[in-house]
Subunit: 348 residues, 2 copies
C-alpha cells in the first residue's frame, strides 16, 4: 500500500474522534476468545459467565514518570507490559488469565496515533496470552499517562496457590534468570543521560537487546503454570518476582510464618547481566536479589515434588524453607551466611 | 480521649509507613461480607468463588483536575463517590455489587491523614452497599491524585439487563430528579472563584446542601434494583445517568436501533435545581438533560410492566421508545418537538 505521507508521522488530535470514535478505535480489535465472556465493551459493565472454578482478580496502576519513562519506552511495549504485569499476578495464583479491563488517562499531548500504538501492544498481549479485553475507561489527565489494568483469571478450587502456605523443608524454585530487567533499566537510564547531554549521540542499545528487552517487554510465565499442571505439581506457595527476589521470598516467609535460606550460587544470573553489573560497578547478586521486574515465578515445593523438576530445564532450585526461628539467610559462595534483606519500596 | 495536639492537624508523611504499613492502614477495615470472597488483599490476586450466576465487571478512572477538584471536594466524599460511580454501573446491569478493587496514585503532598480520610469514604461506601474491598494497588504520582476502581457484581443469568434491548413502545423511566448534581457543581465552582478572588469571604454552601450533596456524595440506586426484583420487573434496557439524560438515553437508542420521545414536562427537576438554574441564567430542562453525574437509573419497560410502577413513588415515566425512523425527540411543554442532542464528552 502506498502512502504519500509516509515520511511524515501523522498527528490526529484525540478530541477529533469523540467518545465513540475513540472507544471504537481502541476496542475494534478486541475479539472474545472465551465462551464465558458474555459481554465485553459497550455496556455499563462487562458480563462473565460462571462455572465451578475460582475467579481470581488482580489490578495494577502504571503512572508515567514513576513506573515508566516515555523517553525510552516505546508505547507498544508499554501497552504490552501493562497487560503482562497483571497476567503475571494471575499466574502467581496458579490460575489462567481470561479477561482484562484497561483504563487510561492521558493528556492532550498524546495523539490518536500514539494511543493506537499503545493499544497495539495491549491487543498483542491479549492475543499472545489468549485473554479477552472486556472493558475499561478512557479520560484525560492534566499531566502524564496513567494506565490501570484489572485482570481476571480462573483456577480449579483445589489448585489455587497462595503466598501463605510454604512449609518447612520446601525447596524454593525460580523460573528464570534474575536481575536482567533491572540492568536493562540502568542501560536505558544511562543512554537517556547521554542523550540529554548531547542529543547528537545515538543511543547504544543494539548490543544489549537481551537486558533491554527484559525491562521493556517482559513476559508472564503462563507456560510455567501449564508445565506444573502437566506434571501434576501444585506448589505450596507462589509469588511473581516483581519487587525483587529478596523482597518477594520474604513476602512468602512472612505470610507463611517460616524462614528461608537462599544459596547465592544457585541463583540464576544471565552472563550479560553478570557482565553489565560489573560494568556499572554493581554486585551481580545484588542486582538479582533486589532488581525486580523480572516477572519470573518463585514457588515452594516439598522434596518429593521438587524431584519432578530436577531434570526440567528452566527451573532453578535456589534454597529451602526453614523454621521461623532460623531467620532469612543468604549463603554466599564462600559458605558465609548473611541476613536476607528486602530493599525499600521504590514506588512511594 | 484527650489529645494535646488536637488543634494542630497532623501530617504524617506516607513514606514513613513503608509499603506494608500503608497496605495495612488502608485495608485493616476491609471486612469481607460475602462467602464467595475467598481471599482479598494480601496475595498476587484476589480469589472469588463462583456459582451459577453471571459476573459483571465495571471499571472507572478518576483523575484530579478532570473528574474532581480537591479545593472543594472533601477526601472522604471523594472516596465514597469513587466507589459509588462504579456500583452504579453494576446496578445498571440489574446486578448486585459484591466486590471492589481500588488503586490509587498520589503525590507526596498527600499525608497519611489525607489518605486515611479518602479510605474512610471508601470503607463507608463498602459498608453501605455491602461490598468487599478485595484488592488494589498504591503508588506515587508526579502530580495529582488518580483513583481507579473496578467493581464486580452478580446477577441471575436471565435477569441481566443490557443497553441494546429497548423495544418500540417501551415506556422510559428515570428514578429521580435530574440536573441537581450539575447545579451543585456550578455552585462549588462559583464559590471557588469567589474564594480565589478574596480568601476572606467564607463559601456560602449551607443554603444549597441538597444540590451540593448531589454532586459531592451521590448514591448508586441499588434500592431500585431491589424494588424491581420485588415487583418481578426486568427492564428491557437500562443505563445509569452519568453523562446526562440526553446522552444516556441516546446510548440506549443507538444500541437498540430505536428512536425515542421524551416529554419535558415529565422530566423530574427538584425545586432547588429549578431555582438555582434560573439564578445561573440556565434553562432548568437543559441542566436536567445534559447535566450528568446524577447517577439515577434510566430503564425501558413494555406497557404492561410499566403499569406496575405507576403508583410507586420515585419512578418517573418520561417518554417512550419509538421506531428508529421517528428519530430522537424532546416534546416541550408547548407541544413543540425538538431534536434530542447529546452534549459533547466532557472529559476529553
Amino acid at each position: 500500500m502506498s502512502d504519500q505521507n509516509s515520511q511524515q508521522p501523522s498527528h490526529t488530535p484525540i478530541s477529533s474522534l469523540g467518545e465513540f470514535g475513540l472507544i471504537d478505535l481502541l476496542t475494534k480489535h478486541a475479539r472474545h476468545r472465551h465462551p464465558e465472556t458474555v459481554k465485553g465493551v459497550g455496556d455499563d459493565a462487562a458480563v462473565l459467565k460462571n462455572d465451578q472454578e475460582l475467579t481470581v482478580v488482580s489490578t495494577d496502576l502504571l503512572v508515567e514518570g514513576i513506573h515508566f519513562d516515555l523517553m525510552y519506552t516505546p508505547l507498544k511495549h508499554l501497552g504490552y507490559k501493562s497487560i503482562v504485569v497483571n497476567l503475571s499476578d494471575i499466574c502467581a495464583m496458579n490460575a489462567t488469565p481470561k479477561q482484562v479491563t484497561v483504563s487510561i488517562a492521558l493528556s492532550n499531548r498524546f495523539s490518536v496515533e500514539a494511543l493506537t500504538e499503545l493499544y497495539e501492544g495491549i491487543h498483542q498481549a491479549c492475543i499472545n496470552y489468549d485473554v479477552d479485553l472486556i472493558g475499561g475507561d478512557t479520560s484525560s489527565s492534566k499531566s502524564g499517562l496513567v494506565i490501570s489494568v484489572t485482570a481476571i483469571g480462573k483456577v480449579e478450587t483445589d489448585k489455587v496457590v497462595y503466598r501463605n502456605k510454604a512449609q518447612v523443608d520446601d525447596h524454593i524454585f525460580v523460573t528464570g534468570d534474575l536481575g536482567a530487567a533491572y540492568l536493562g533499566l540502568q542501560i536505558l537510564e544511562r543512554e537517556k543521560r547521554i542523550y540529554l547531554e548531547n542529543p547528537h549521540i545515538q543511543p547504544q542499545l543494539a548490543d544489549h537487546q537481551y537486558l533491554v528487552g527484559r525491562q521493556l517487554r517482559p513476559e508472564a510465565r503462563q507456560d510455567v503454570i501449564e508445565i506444573l499442571a502437566q506434571q501434576d505439581i501444585v506448589p505450596n506457595a507462589m509469588i511473581d518476582i516483581s519487587d525483587g527476589l529478596s523482597s518477594d521470598v520474604l513476602h512468602i516467609c512472612k505470610q507463611s510464618n517460616v524462614g528461608c535460606c537462599i544459596f547465592e550460587e544457585n541463583v540464576p544470573i544471565h552472563p550479560e547481566s553478570y557482565n553489565m553489573a560489573l560494568e556499572f560497578k554493581l554486585n551481580p547478586i545484588t542486582c538479582a536479589l533486589s532488581g525486580g521486574e523480572d516477572y519470573e515465578l518463585l514457588f515452594t515445593l516439598p522434596a518429593d515434588q521438587a524431584k519432578k523438576l530436577q531434570d526440567t530445564a528452566g527451573f532453578f532450585d535456589i534454597g529451602k524453607i526453614t523454621p521461623l526461628d532460623k531467620g532469612n539467610l543468604l549463603y554466599g559462595k564462600s559458605g558465609r551466611a548473611d541476613q536476607l534483606i528486602a530493599q525499600g519500596w521504590k514506588h512511594l
